[in-house]
Symmetry: C5
């Protein structure tokens, strides 16, 4: 898993049927590179989260039919920008 | 998922049987690196899209026999080059 | 598999049900980049370990329902920072 | 999928039983980094091809028992070094 | 598949049950970055090999229960450091 920070929501009106079942969040890594993750937990911008990739991402989304390759797996309790970038 | 921009179509006369079932698009990331994705949605050059990789790409293509490792999952409603590169 | 060093534990009170079954460790590679791995073995900070990714990570976690993409597979007997970075 | 150029054949007398069923090609990306792909299509050096990775690579090889993580999926009809590197 | 060179053996007394069934080798790529691969073939340090990743790695290890994400798939017959780094 990787450590990401939630940046914002992502709206895709025209999208894959199964992806439509869950909210999508734009997340960034410590270098500022952006990815898009399914959020089955309910995160808000600024939260530090662990993101799950590979086939585990589909299981973590709550339904293996959800066609995601990245899913938020948890909100980290104690994390700061300093720890992240060291 | 990653955020890509559709660049152009890709024609491969001699190709894998199952790949032939769907249009292919050349997409670029924010650094200009190119990849090739199956497009089950119907995108046009210039669209910002989310791309799905790993085993989820086959499911998103509409048939797990389609031998793709990257499939376009949705067209992003509001996105600009500025957000992408920040 | 990759060679990582265990940095610390990671606490995520609000997390995916299945991930909750196993301890999580922050690990670093030789460049200092951080990842998060499930630890079914019992490592302590400073241990050099091999980490398993992809679908094998779920099997290595002891239950394929555990939604991990990285699991610690073993503690390396003889390894030093010098070998790692050469 | 990624865009690669076929460089040469690869001979591995001592190899995995299932890999032995198909020709192997060394391919390069636009930066010159080399990989090895199974070729079920019949490519020759200099061809620009799309390469399929992940579990789709095994299916594209014609038999999921073929232990490949990269398979050539098609020969690109119109491609030049200029398009590749832009 | 990628082209790696075998560097040395790796000993992990305390490790995942299934990984214990096969020898592990430290391998390096052309940049000197290290990884760890299961070796079902019997390689020695200095051999140039092709390495298989993703789910194919488990199949190539001879038993899909072996929790590896990288397995040596064959020894390359003719390869030199010059070809590798060009």
């Amino acid at each position: 898993m990787e450590i990401h920070r939630v940046v914002r929501d992502l709206v895709t009106t025209k999208r894959n049927f199964w992806l439509a079942a869950k909210p999508l969040r734009v997340v960034e890594d410590y270098k500022g590179d952006l990815s898009v993750a399914v959020d089955p937990i309910g995160c808000k911008p600024g939260d530090f989260v662990i993101t799950i990739t590979i086939s585990a991402a589909r299981i973590a989304a709550g339904n293996p039919m959800i066609t995601t390759d990245m899913t938020i797996g948890g909100i980290i309790d104690h994390w700061s920008e300093e720890e992240w970038r060291s």
